[in-house]
Amino acid sequence: MDILMKALYLLIFPGLLYCSVAGLLLAGIDRKVVARMQKRIGPPLLQPAYDFFKLLGKETIVPAAAARRTFLAAPVIGLVSLVVTAVLVPVFGFSAFGGVADVVVILYLLTIPAVAIIMGGAASGSPYAGVGISREMVTMMAYELPLVIVLLAVGKAAGDGGVTFSLSKIVEYQQANGPLITHWTMWPAALAMLLVIPAEIGSHPFDVAEAETEICEGALVEYSGAPLALFKLSSAIKLYIMTALFSCLFLSGWGTGIVAVDALILVAVCAVIMLICVSLVRAVCARLKVEILFRFYWRVVAVLAAISLILAWLVG
């Protein structure tokens, strides 16, 4: 029974099925909204799903120069780690694995998809992938520092004097004291987190790693068919997870108590967050250079987050 429950969590809700649907939906909304911002009609809402299924039906080519096993295993590993992360992020009050979700675990799990892309790219043996890997890695180091500080700041603010690494404790604190976004000390951190999200999911101004016009999609250059579909699904799920993480860190503490309704509300909230930090930015910005991106995250975003951390210490 326990196994069945766990399998249910991992595969249906809040695991694979739920987060895939939510992620693809969010990606669809994103594309539609950006199109509307540019006065276009835009693709149908389900376009990312169409893309995904189409790619499943395509031929999978493994280049002769590739390290075959790594090349094929990389997308699966990335997807699985994201599904695990999705299970660990609470849906308002509900968290699948008994409320023991931990911020550091999530932090580390979130690096795995990027690493999977990098490993896959490295295994493909393409020079474009080499450049892509380099950029992906630098991007990752750029946003990881602010992300770490944000998580610690939130942990401090929600720690009730101490510090907590537990997401469920953070949610409980917000249930008692209102969402953290209402605390003025957390505003810089929230802003920093909003800026981290587009880099984490590799959306437009920060998509140096997958710049399709410069380096032919970077690390994904040799992927086709089902593995590529898994990567696309991963990036959609990442969209959901990052926004859900934001809502969990700053906007949670309420909810109807009915899991199904909460899940729907969460997707709506995610969509709003995504509109603010992904779609809007994506529609108006041009792609940054990688060294500028790095400087931006370490000088601006990290400082924002650090301000919050210090404020949390002084006030809390």
Partner: protein, 643 residues
């Protein structure tokens, strides 16, 4: 019988070393037999100690020649094995065993193998003697034996580029450290007129801190700092790890620097019991944090596989030191856990580097590439090691790092004012260092195992089975240590942490019951480590996940077609059309991003800092000595000012 095991384990190594020189000169098989016998026997002896010490909580004291203390003074030389010593002893014997197996094939192309094995066993005996010893001067002697053997082994392949100079640097800076240990020892002796650790501990606790004690502590601390290769004593380590044979690099990072760490723990927690002094905590944590940061950033700068690993070794020791400096039971347990994990994964990575060197003849990241096609098992093992050291769940590096962050942040929460901000910054640096570790291992995997295969490595073959066996064992241990933190902490880490904090038993075992009671305060309780909060330690969930992964991999593998990757690269050149790499329409040729160029964006932004690092590791032995002396002076000054 059981109390004779520690000395027997040490003597087995030394006897083995002696016999190897005597008998193993001509015959390969005799040599191997002796070495394997010595390493297996010692390992078994250490394993036999698990039950009385870890499980039953006993402490074994042993007086050489039966010279028990007379009139309350220790006159003999003692061995004392508590859980802490045994923990490190197990690490040492385990590393030696695997390294010995690995050496058989790895060293087979060199001459003077009997010398190699003699020095190897001497090194092993030195480190084991150090961790099991209960006598301060004996510790010094063991440190010297260890350094001596280590230097000789660094210079063993004197045909290799730079091995001689790195051996000399190691010797020069290492001997400064040894002299400090000796000077510190004698200063302690001048205060308490004994060399027995247990008695020193009891008497010093009664005396309180005097100027001489502080000076002695500073000297010993610096000495063990040099042996643990904390920054700024680290450049010698980077050189030595790089140029020594990989089997020895593994031993270096697996146990030689652990010996320094052990010395520090013994020193600050047991001998001087100084960890309730906040300024010592800050100093150790600060040194640890600097060590991990400088280690990892220097690693980002490297373009040699083994040198990169060497800097990571330094960086990971920084984690251990930081955790130990926190002086909480969680911190100590985390530090010990990470020390163990570091032995496992860094040993594994060094063995991978050795396998690459054995097969391809170089470890230059700018020249290598695409070896995963020729050495698939080594590549797989390397990925395990890289994931473990970067702290990717579910491997062991993650679990121990998690404990360390937790300890850091709890310390931050417990402290107030400046200290809490300091510990918070330490946590942030720790997490950042982890990401950078990941980055540099991405660099290694891209430029050694993946990417394109240069023509010159066409003929490369997989490493021999005898080299792969220890690698696989270590890889399995990495996974097991990550998946079973609960039993591990219950049966090994908690006893060791408890032994570190509760030294009454340690003193009483050696000096007779009740000796400590007159001098010591209360026993510090050790909190139960709770790994359940990590959140993913749910075996059932992992089982389900495993099934899902397998199914997914199967589906993907079945649905894919493509050319098999086992062609020669000259043949790959001929592969055209569909299965060729996309090259913008051109015929695909060899073209790779060089390993040292992979983090351009980062390096460009931090160019001044990286320039400073390059200058710091100038390669001139005077500079290294200057770093060491300056740091030593600084530490001594700090101790006098704040203690």
């Amino acid at each position: 019988m059981i109390q004779h095991l520690p000395i027997l384990a040490i003597m087995t190594y030394f006897l083995g070393a002696f016999l190897t020189t005597l008998l193993g000169h001509n015959s390969k098989s005799v040599r191997w037999f002796l070495v394997m016998l010595a390493s297996v026997a010692s390992f078994v002896m250490m394993c036999l100690l698990i039950k009385p010490i870890f499980l039953d909580g006993g402490i074994i004291g042993y007086w050489m020649g039966g010279r028990a203390p007379e009139a309350g003074y220790a006159i003999g030389i003692g061995l004392e094995v508590d859980a802490l010593s045994l923990f490190f002893g197990l690490l040492v014997t385990f590393t030696v065993l695997l390294s010995a197996v690995y050496s058989i094939k790895y060293i087979s192309r060199d001459d003077a193998q009997d010398k190699y094995y003699t020095l190897f066993l001497m090194l092993a005996g030195g480190v084991l003697g150090l961790v099991l010893s209960g006598d301060l001067f004996n510790i010094f002697i063991m440190v010297e034996i260890m350094t001596f053997a280590a230097v000789a082994l660094t210079a063993y392949r004197n045909w290799a580029e730079g091995s001689l100079e790195s051996a000399f640097k190691y010797l020069a800076v290492g001997s400064i450290g040894s002299s400090m240990i000796l000077a510190g020892t004698i200063m302690v002796y001048s205060q308490v007129h004994t060399l027995n650790l247990a008695q020193i501990s009891a008497l010093l606790a009664g005396q309180g801190l005097t100027n001489t004690t502080v000076f002695a502590f500073a000297l010993l601390f610096i000495g063990f700092g040099v042996k643990a290769f904390i920054v700024p004593f680290h450049p010698i380590a980077a050189d030595a790890y790089m140029t020594a044979p990989a089997s020895i690099s593994m031993v270096f990072s697996g146990m030689v620097n652990k010996a320094g760490v052990y010395g520090m723990i013994r020193l600050v927690y047991v001998v001087f019991q100084i960890m309730d002094v906040k300024s010592v905590n800050y100093l150790i944590v600060l040194l640890g944090t600097i060590t991990m940061f400088i280690g990892v950033t220097s690693a980002l700068n490297q373009h040699d596989f083994k040198r990169l690993l060497a800097f990571h070794s330094i960086s990971q020791i920084g984690y251990v030191i930081t955790a130990i400096g926190l002086a909480t039971s969680l911190g100590i347990a985390g530090g010990l856990y990470h020390a163990m994990n570091h032995t496992l994964f860094k040993g594994l990575l060094f063995l991978c580097a050795g396998a690459v060197f054995y097969s391809a003849g170089t470890t230059d990241l700018d020249r290598l590439g695409g070896l995963a096609k020729r050495m698939p098992q080594t590549a797989a093992i390397f990925l395990v090691g890289a994931a473990a050291i970067s702290g990717i769940p579910p491997f062991n590096g993650f679990a121990s790092k998690w404990v360390i962050y937790q300890a850091c942040y709890e310390a931050a929460a417990a402290a107030s004012g400046f200290a809490s901000i300091f510990y918070a910054v330490v946590t942030i640096v720790g997490l950042l260092v982890s990401v950078m570790t990941l980055a540099s291992f991405v660099k290694v995997s891209q430029s050694v195992f993946f990417g394109q295969l240069p023509d010159e490595f066409d003929e490369v073959k997989e490493a021999p089975l005898l080299m792969r066996i220890p690698m696989w064992i270590m890889a399995a241990c990495c996974l097991l240590a990550g998946l079973l933190p609960g039993p591990l902490s219950r049966f090994a880490l908690q006893p060791a942490a408890a032994a570190t904090l509760n030294i009454k038993g340690y003193i009483d075992t050696m000096m007779g019951g009740g000796y400590a009671a007159s001098q010591m305060g209360d026993v510090t309780p050790v909190a139960e480590l709770d790994f359940s909060t990590i959140g993913y330690w749910q075996p059932v969930a992992w089982l389900v996940l495993f099934v899902i992964i397998m199914a997914a991999v199967l589906i993907v593998a079945l649905g894919s077609q493509g050319a098999r990757g086992n062609k020669r690269s000259t043949e790959l050149e001929k592969v055209d059309g569909k299965y060729a790499t996309f090259f913008g329409g051109e015929h695909s040729t060899y073209s790779m991003v060089g390993g040292s160029d992979l983090f351009w964006g980062l390096r460009y932004n931090l160019r001044h800092y990286f320039g400073f690092l390059s200058d710091m590791h100038s390669g001139v032995v005077n500079d290294y000595a200057l770093w060491a002396v300056t740091a030593a002076a600084g530490i001594i000054l700090y101790m006098f000012l704040f203690l």
